[in-house]
Amino acid sequence: MGQTITEKILSRVLGRDVSPGEFTYPIPDLTVIHDGYVVSMKKSLDELGVTQIKNSDRVMFVTDHEVVPVTQMGADRGTQIRAIAKAWDIKHFYDSGRGGIGHVAPVEDEFVKPGMLVEGYDTHVPNFGAIGALGIPILGEVTSVVAIGATWILVPETIRIDLKGALPEGVTVRDLGQYIMSNIDPEVANYTVFEFGGPAVRDISIDGRMTLCNVPLEIGTESIVFPTDEVTRAYYTSPIEHIAPDSDATYKARFEFDLSEVTPQISVPPTPETVVSVDKVTGKKIDYAFIGSCASGLMEDMRQAATILKGRKIHPDVRLFVAPATQRIFAQMVKEGIVEIFLDADCLMLPAGCGACPGGKIGRVSAGEVALCTIPRNDSGRLGSNDAEIYLGSALTVAASAVQGKISDCRELYKEATQ
């Protein structure tokens, strides 16, 4: 019987063919643990009497949530993480200033490759699906992986999503991600893996694929994955494994989206899946804007925002923070003059990493403010105060809205800027 990409990867790891619903203990090829959990995990392992972790060459620590600690507690945590990394001989360690977001930088570095099973303490570890790796967020169960070498995975069913057509001018894959999320019933999506395919996939870059492996996750999807193709092969400097589903693979459901029908999309409070077309919220005044995160802090997003911000100033009532997902993206932005464009526009550059997204570790919002961001989630407290309203959209939408001081349809400014 034919297999989906997910079934193929799990079968390879487990050394036998698996089917959806099976209870398994696969040994991941890599487990990524971010700075918010390393110390807690160490505490649990101490209680368990575990002094040496299993498969340490397959474990990665990443400091991306609090890259620049602004509290003593944060600074001390950084020190503890460094000591733990040394004690456990963690060879893959992206500390502050190294790499960037833990599910973006390892792809840039070609460390994560197609066909790999990557587990992690981060809900957005499925970003790795962009290059045909299966990323499964296992959260606190990373403790099990380092203590005994694995944790449980119920083999998920797969939903096939075919993409056709082309995005209209001024509409981005971020809009497509939000559009997809709002058009699939979370009850159907729950505990499945989305597998992308169809003719439009070849027009979507690795950056765009990361966005699509990230944004729709919020409806309860286990993971999201793309097959490898010429885009993936061109991304890597050395030959890669080809990953694709069998033609007779079994899917729980199938969806098809025509990209030409997508318009700029906005997630309104209180959940990311509450998505409306931008015209429903146009004119809403904003105080705060943020471009960054594992969803949309990639080179393509930065280039898009720069298109709008070039030669313009953001509205005097708006603060716009920018955090590139990785150090390399930041460097590339400098090279392409994008940082200068942002600085000239009165934006604030944050260090590479998660930026304000995880609870406003840096660049917080205050009570009563309205924020428009490219981050994956908009739960209350996500950027600091519980009493701020958070709207989500593409980098183009955020840039255009920051210029106009209110949520705006970016297509007008985009057209003007690209003419």
């Binding site: 169960e141 005994i148 505990y191 309860g220 959940t271």
Partner: protein
């Protein structure tokens, strides 16, 4: 594993950060169920933790625990000694409930329509049986796989690991 207690009824779309546990406690990286229990549903009902009793059961609608699956939410519920029965639960919530050792029936279509707040319930989590003593009705649902239930019965992932390590079980790549 049978819980006998009162029903705490919730509607659809109860969120992790938005309802169950304010994000603030997650960001403080609290992990002691006995500390976190006092903050469960704090912003929805500040008296919740005082009124809830061990053995009581949260009966929720669709997507109980949607949003970023921060462990603190279910560690708090574990601290209260409560079980969870829901029309549905997203994968992340399911995972952290198991981690926290909260007995659960995660996929009980329309169960929330068959109970009222305060009903006396008897829930056999391993067999998937929800008995409403107040209404004298019994409903049967799919229970979590036996392997998952072993983790919950142990009290969650950490106590389960303690046992697993003692048995010498490990998964190591040669």
């Amino acid at each position: 594993m049978i819980y006998r207690g009162r029903c705490w009824k919730f509607g659809d779309n109860v969120g992790i950060d938005t309802h169950i546990m304010p994000l603030n406690y997650t960001l403080q990286r609290l992990s002691d169920p006995q500390v976190l229990k006092d903050h469960v549903f704090e912003e929805v009902d500040p008296e919740f933790h005082r009124n809830a009793r061990p053995g009581d059961v949260i009966v929720a609608g669709r997507r109980f625990g949607h949003g970023n699956p921060h462990l603190q939410a279910f560690l708090g519920i574990r601290g209260l000694g409560m079980g969870v029965v829901a029309d549905s639960m997203p994968r992340g919530a399911f995972r952290i409930a198991v981690y926290s050792g909260v007995p659960l029936l995660a996929f009980c279509k329309n169960v929330s329509e068959c109970v009222d707040h305060g009903d006396e319930l008897q829930v056999d989590f391993e067999r998937g049986i929800v008995k409403n003593t107040t209404k004298d009705t019994t409903m049967k649902y799919e229970a979590p796989p036996a392997e998952i239930f072993e983790i919950i019965r142990a009290g969650g992932t950490i106590p389960y690991l303690r046992r697993t390590i003692a048995k010498g079980t490990q998964f190591v790549k040669c």
